[in-house]
Amino acid sequence: MVEKIDKHILKNGMVLLGEPMEVVESAAFNFMLPMGASLLPDGCCGAGTVIIDWIFRGAGARGSKELCDALDSLGLHRSGGISSSHMTIGAVLEASNLHESLDIYRDVIRSSRLEADQFELSKQLAIDVVKGLDDDPRQKVMLKLREKFYPEPLGRNSLGDIEELEALTVDKAAEIIKMNFNLSQAIFMVAGKYDFSEVVRQAENLFETDESNSIEAPTAIAHENKYTHLPNDGAQVHIGLMTRTVLPGDEDYYNARVAVSVLSGGMSARLFTEVREKRGLCYAVGARYHGLKEAAGIACYAGTTPEKAQETLDVITAEFKRLADGISEEEIQRAKVGLKSTLVLQSESSCSRANGIGSDYYILGRVRSLDEIKEKIEATSVDSVLAFLRKNEFKDFTVVTIGPKEVKVG
């Protein structure tokens, strides 16, 4: 696999990244702005979902309708979201429309109209989304889990809560935008079919601003929240659990990834085999690595009917702990081939590449090539994974359940 990463840094510090892909006709792009939930003022952590909607309600010369029409006319499929560290807005589209789209995104980022009546609508929608979360316990349990697991404010629920959203004012939201739409700390990435020198030239015109302020990373405070239960009279108990592990930049990162893959990579992995195949406890069960720049964990979800909830949790935690007792060569080989194959399959999609290079750059300060990742996965072994597991024992689980019955956490 031969690949290259394009990179250019604007005078104001904004980073431009690109990964060209030969056989596609699409391009996917994202802007990562330092407006993640953990960087917002206390009491405003739902502001991100309000702002991400509000900024598209009219920008530059275009009103709300004209802006939406202009984006639709380019056949562009928008994406966006709020993570712990960033607000990301972007799209995937036919490559020939990239240039025109970036002009429009310039307006959205730099001269959104931010009208007060439109703010109220964005705020109402954000409140309704939080209310709707109660009807989606599977999503809610994982949001709550991150909040309880990560040191405060890293795991903040980016949707916020209703009281905070109701208290959010138009002035406060505008102030947050002014502060956090800081292009000197923004990352732009594009993947697919594009001309990088053209992208750079355009970005110099559109995004070369004078910025002096800087967004500081928050001080994270660990909290002791072993178990949280949210009563809900649904059909299942939704279980989320998370345990600490090494950061994405750690030398043991790939050992951690292979270990998680042995636990939950494919259908022959341990959780699926022990929890679902042998015992029929669940339909959905799975674990994955979840890493921020400052902290990382392995997060696991399972949904099961109330009478099976305790056994499900017990079997899952036992499997986490049993991993350090021994792993077969076969299991390691399956885990490695699974990770490498996923990597290649994702590399065919401009969307996944655009996301991949941006988060790499933010977390590691550079973009890893697919070859490098493959080599690092290849270099792991039974011994290296076991040594990692013994050094970084899976313990001290943070557990959250939503459902009609509580569980006992050992």
Binding site: M1, E22, V23, V24, S26, K65, C68, D69, L71, D72, S73, L74, G75, L76, H77, V92, L93, E94, L125, D128, V129, K131, G132, D134, D135, R138, N232, D233, G234, A235, Q236, H238, G266, M267, S268, A269, F272, T273, E277, R279, G280, C282, Y283, G303, T305, K308, Q333, R334, V337, G338, L339, S341, T342, V344, L345, S347, E348, S349, S350, C351
Partner: protein, 409 residues
């Protein structure tokens, strides 16, 4: 891209689209069977059957099946709908033959009693899981209400009762009737060797016995009923509307897709401007679902209980206005751009392409290039959309809502 096709003497069709510039390949079996092909007594058997296929063959245990897939690093899974059961895998080219051979083996499963009994628990957990997902639950219930006794309205998962009462023997009978080679398509896309694929499939698949397989096709106009199911545990109103559309075989399906995008795409549509932009509903989307011999326009809306009456009035207003005044050229142009770019992006990845290739053969016995579909979408005119609206009045919908007791909001 090169299209390939071969039909075995027992009726199994193998179709392929070779694309040597792809980095991966995708392979799948498309079995023309689903919930609509079930009697009430065995409701849920198609989906249960899909699970049981992974439980192994005479020679392979369930764990060995999973290990064999995972050794290749393939991303593999299956899904069951009202009328199709699809088994698929995306893989690196060097593992394609191994993965295909595995699927071929699994298409003749052992269906052991012991596995059947354990898997019943997993199916019942899946039924419980969907009860906690009202956005799925409302669609399932609404489909049942719309088809009103027709088997197209059968629940895909079945009920706890139908699953409890089902026997392994009933499943074996269902299997031998429906998993016949003349009712299946083997499809493959991406970087692979066509001749090798066929020579691998020829001998084992050639032994499968064909059957008389049929499906009753009724074009249903829907019951037009309106029901609300109260659930104390819910916070929001979940509303599903369904009305008649064209079938998967009907050339007007492209116009139907465009019409649903004009009315209910997640951004820039009529629903978007009237409901979401005004913060009356947090979700409001319409999709067109083409089926074998029939078709349905689905709307899904999530809003507060107190807004629900207003939201429904607005939707009726949109349907009436579309019926009376039609759509604008600008709306059609935007919908085309969105649908066309989605089509191109989806088909860039072999796994995305596999689904279109397999379903085009299942429904149409036809190979359609991406360009064929692009041209068909480009060719749709305003008049095409208007005559569709005239024939299929959107106002004649069946409605099902799930929501809290009225006092909760």
């Amino acid at each position: 891209m090169e299209f390939k096709k071969k039909e075995l003497s027992n009726g199994l069709t193998i179709v392929g689209e070779v694309n040597k510039s792809a980095k991966s390949a995708a392979v799948g079996f498309f079995v023309k069977t689903g919930a609509r092909d079930e009697s009430n007594e065995i409701n849920g058997v198609s989906h249960f059957m899909e699970h049981m296929l992974f439980k192994g063959t005479k020679k392979l245990s369930a764990l060995e099946v999973n290990e064999a897939f995972d050794r290749t690093g393939a991303q593999f899974n299956a899904f069951t709908s009202e009328e199709n059961t699809v088994f698929y895998a995306a893989t690196l080219p060097e593992y394609l033959i191994e993965v295909t051979n595995l699927w071929i083996d699994l298409m003749r499963p052992e269906l052991r009693d012991e596995d059947f009994n354990i898997e019943k628990n997993v199916i019942k957990e899946e039924i419980a899981m969907y009860k906690d997902l009202p956005n799925f639950d409302v669609m399932d219930k609404c489909r049942h209400l719309y088809f009103d006794g027709d088997s197209c309205g059968n629940s895909i998962l079945g009920s706890e009762e139908s699953i409890d009462n089902m026997t392994a023997e009933q499943m074996r009978n269902y299997f031998s009737n429906r998993y016949a080679p003349n009712n299946m398509v083997l499809a493959c896309v991406g970087d692979f060797d066509w001749e090798r694929l066929c020579s691998q499939a020829q001998s084992p698949c050639g032994k499968w016995e064909n059957q008389q397989v049929s499906r009753e096709l009724n074009q249903s106009a829907g019951s037009g009923k309106c029901e609300r199911v109260e659930n104390q545990n819910l916070n929001r109103e979940h509303i599903c509307l369904m009305s008649q559309g064209v079938s998967a075989q009907d050339p007007r399906r492209f116009a139907a897709v465009l019409l649903s995008a004009i009315i209910g795409d997640d951004v820039g549509s009529r629903y978007f401007w009237e409901l979401v932009d005004k913060a009356l509903a947090e979700t409001a989307v319409m999709q067109f679902g083409a089926m074998d011999g029939t078709g349905v326009f689905y709307s899904y809306v999530q809003c507060s209980n107190e807004n629900s009456a207003k939201v429904l009035d607005i939707i009726r207003g949109i349907f009436q206005s579309v019926g009376k005044d039609g759509i604008s050229g600008d709306e059609l142009k935007k919908a085309k751009n969105k649908i066309l770019s989605a089509l191109v992006i989806k088909n860039e990845v072999p796994m995305g392409r596999l689904i279109d290739l397999g379903f085009n053969w299942t429904y149409l016995k036809q190979y359609r290039t991406i360009a064929d579909d692009v041209n068909a979408i480009r060719a749709v005119t305003i008049d095409d959309i208007h005559s569709l609206i005239e024939e299929f009045n959107l106002c004649n919908f069946t409605q099902l809502s799930l929501g809290p007791a009225a006092s909760k909001e």
